[in-house]
C-alpha cells in the first residue's frame, strides 16, 4: 500500500527529481525534452488499462475504452515525434535530415 506519508515522500522526491533532471537541459533541446516528458506521462496507459480491466457495464466500459485509446495515443505519438526530433540532433556534422 502506498498511503499517507509514504505517498507524500514519493511525490516530493519525484518532484525534485524532475526539477533537477530538467534544469540543466540546454535551450536547443527544449522541444524534444518537452515532447519526451509528454511521452513519459503516457504511462497513464497502464492506469487506463487497469481502469478498463475493472470496468463493469457499458458506461464504464466506454469511458475506459476512450481512456485507453487516448492514453495509447499519448504514449505512441509522444514516442514517435520525440524520436524523430532527436534523430535530427544525432550528429553535428551538418548531415541533412529527411524532410
Amino acid at each position: 500500500m502506498i498511503d499517507g506519508f509514504i505517498a507524500l515522500y514519493i511525490f516530493m522526491l519525484a518532484g525534485f527529481t524532475g526539477y533537477e533532471v530538467i534544469s540543466r537541459v540546454p535551450v536547443i533541446l527544449h522541444t524534444p525534452l518537452m515532447s519526451g516528458s509528454n511521452f513519459v506521462h503516457g504511462i497513464v496507459l497502464v492506469g487506463a488499462m487497469v481502469a478498463l480491466g475493472q470496468a463493469d457495464g457499458p458506461v464504464e466500459q466506454i469511458i475506459g475504452f476512450v481512456g485507453v485509446a487516448l492514453a495509447a495515443g499519448n504514449a505512441v505519438g509522444g514516442y514517435v515525434v520525440t524520436e524523430r526530433m532527436l534523430e535530427m540532433f544525432k550528429d553535428s556534422g551538418g548531415k541533412r535530415g529527411k524532410a
Partner: protein, 462 residues
C-alpha cells in the same frame, strides 16, 4: 498462465520500478544532444515493459476492448506522428498531451462512478486529478486548433475573467462535494466533468499564438500532475513517479518561458495580452526597402552574419533555404551564426528543431545570453519572420507593453536586413522600432522565396 499471486505482484511491481527508473535516466540523457536519442529509446523500453506486464494485473477483464483501444489510439498516433511536418510539431505535441490529460480524466471518471473503497485522500486526489486532466484535455485541444489554424480568433469579451472565475468556482464546488461523498452517481459526476471541460476551453480561448510556448508547457505539466494523482488513486507508483517528474519539469519549463517574456505565468494566462496593448507610440524614421541583389552583396562581402529566425520562418517553411544560404555564405568565408530567442516560435525550442531538420549543425546556433555580445561585431543581422523578440523598445521605452522583455540585440549590428511578408505589426500589435532604424533595410516577400532570391543574388556575384 499459472503464476502465484505473490509472484505476479512482484513481477508487476518490479516492472513498474524498472519503468520509473528508465524514464528518469532517459530524461536525464536528454540533457545533451549526443546522448539524447538513447534517452528516448530507454524511456520507450520502460513504457513497453510496463504496458506488457500490466496485462498480468489480477482480476481484469475486457481484454478484447483493451487491445482494440490500444490498436486504434496507438495506430492513429503512430500514423500521424510519422507524417507530421516539423513545422507542425507544436500542435502535435499539444494534441498528444491533451490525449494524456483526457486519459487521466477517464480513469478518474471510472473511479468516481464507483467510489466505494476509496479513502478520503484517494477520493480528493481523484477529483483534483480529474479537474486538472480535463482542463489539460480541452485546453490542449483548443491550443491544437489555434496552432493548426482551425481557430483563428482569440475570443475575448468584457467580463471574461468574471465568467471564467464563476465557472471555476462552480467546478471546484462540485469537486469538493464529490470528494466529501455528497455527489455520488452519474449526475453530479457528469456535471463536474462538463464544467471542467468548459473551464479548459474558456481559459485557453483568449490566449494568443505567441504565448503558446507557455501554454503548451503548462498543460504538459498539468497532465503530468493529473497522471500522478490518478496514480495514487490506483496505487500505481510508476504513474506517481513519472507523472510527478513531468509535472515539476513542465512547471520549470513554463517558468523559463514566462521569464523569457518578462511576464508572470498568471499574466500570460489572464491578461488578454495584445488586445489591450496600446498602439505603442509613434516611431520616427521610415521603412526602407532593399532588393535581394543588394542585400546579397551586403552579406556576401561581410565577415560575419547573424541570422535571427522567428515563427515566420516556420510558416514559410524556409529552414532548408536558410541552411542553403548559410552554406553558400560559409563557402565564401563568411562566419554565420544563428541567434535563437527562447520564445521564438510556438513551443519551447521550436526554432532549434526546424534548423536541425534542415541540417544546421547545432554548434553555430546560439541562444540569447551567448549571442548578444556578438551583435556589435556582426556586419549583417538577418531577421527572418521574427518581430517582437528583436524590438529595441523592450530595452528603451518604458511605456512599451513589452518593456523589460529580454531581446536579441539585433539593432546593434552594423546592418540589419528584415525579411517580412508585409508591413503588418507583430503579435503584440506594437510597431517595431528596429524596422525604422537608419541601418535597417526591409526585404519584402514570403520567407522561403525571399531567401531563394538572396541565394540567387549571391550566386550571380561570381
Amino acid at each position: 498462465m499459472n503464476l502465484s499471486p505473490a509472484f505476479t505482484d512482484d513481477l508487476i511491481q518490479g516492472a513498474y520500478f524498472l519503468a520509473a527508473l528508465l524514464f528518469i535516466v532517459g530524461l536525464k540523457r536528454m540533457s545533451s544532444p549526443k546522448g539524447a536519442r538513447v534517452g528516448i529509446l530507454w524511456a520507450g523500453a520502460g513504457m513497453l515493459v510496463a504496458t506488457l506486464i500490466t496485462f498480468l494485473w489480477p482480476g481484469m477483464h475486457n481484454f478484447g476492448l483493451m487491445l482494440a483501444a490500444i490498436l486504434i489510439g496507438g495506430g492513429a498516433a503512430w500514423w500521424s506522428g510519422k507524417r507530421v511536418a516539423m513545422t507542425a510539431m507544436p500542435q502535435m505535441v499539444a494534441l498528444y498531451n491533451g490525449m494524456g490529460g483526457g486519459a487521466a480524466a477517464a480513469i478518474a471518471a471510472d473511479e468516481l462512478l464507483h467510489p466505494e473503497g476509496l479513502g478520503r485522500a484517494a477520493l480528493t486526489l481523484a477529483v483534483v486529478g480529474a479537474f486538472i486532466g480535463t482542463v489539460s484535455f480541452s485546453g490542449s485541444l483548443i491550443a491544437f486548433g489555434k496552432l493548426q489554424g482551425l481557430i483563428n480568433k482569440s475570443w475575448r469579451f468584457k467580463g471574461q475573467q468574471l465568467v471564467n472565475g464563476l465557472v471555476f468556482l462552480l467546478a471546484a464546488g462540485h469537486g469538493v462535494m464529490i470528494a466529501l461523498g455528497y455527489g455520488h452517481g452519474m449526475g453530479p459526476v457528469v456535471f463536474f466533468f462538463l464544467l471542467s471541460l468548459l473551464f479548459g476551453v474558456l481559459m485557453t480561448v483568449p490566449i494568443g499564438g505567441a504565448d503558446m510556448p507557455v501554454v503548451i508547457s503548462l498543460y504538459n505539466a498539468f497532465t503530468g500532475l493529473a497522471v500522478a494523482f490518478e496514480g495514487f488513486v490506483l496505487q500505481n507508483p510508476a504513474m506517481i513517479i513519472a507523472g510527478m517528474v513531468v509535472g515539476s519539469a513542465g512547471t520549470l519549463l513554463t517558468q523559463l518561458m514566462a521569464k523569457a517574456m518578462n511576464r508572470s505565468i498568471g499574466n500570460v494566462l489572464f491578461s488578454n495580452f495584445g488586445e489591450t496593448a496600446a498602439a505603442g507610440g509613434e516611431v520616427s524614421g521610415s521603412l526602407k526597402p532593399i532588393d535581394a541583389a543588394d542585400a546579397g552583396v551586403m552579406m556576401a562581402y561581410g565577415a560575419k552574419v547573424i541570422i535571427v529566425p522567428g515563427y515566420g520562418m516556420a510558416v514559410a517553411q524556409a529552414q532548408h533555404k536558410v541552411w542553403e544560404l548559410t552554406q553558400l555564405l560559409q563557402s565564401r568565408g563568411v562566419t554565420v551564426k544563428f541567434a535563437i530567442h527562447p520564445v521564438a516560435g510556438r513551443m519551447p525550442g521550436h526554432m532549434n528543431v526546424l534548423l536541425a531538420e534542415a541540417g544546421v549543425p547545432y554548434d553555430i546556433i546560439a541562444d540569447l545570453e551567448e549571442i548578444n555580445a556578438e551583435f556589435p561585431t556582426a556586419d549583417v543581422a538577418l531577421i527572418i519572420g521574427a518581430n517582437d523578440v528583436v524590438n529595441p523598445d523592450a530595452r528603451n521605452r518604458k511605456d512599451s507593453p513589452i518593456y523589460g522583455m529580454p531581446i536579441l540585440d539585433a539593432d546593434k549590428a552594423k546592418n540589419v536586413i528584415v525579411i517580412k511578408r508585409g508591413q503588418g505589426r507583430g503579435f503584440s500589435g506594437i510597431e517595431n522600432a528596429l524596422f525604422y532604424m537608419d541601418n535597417t533595410r526591409m526585404l519584402y516577400g514570403d520567407g522561403q522565396e525571399a531567401v531563394a532570391r538572396l541565394i540567387q543574388g549571391i550566386k550571380t556575384l561570381d
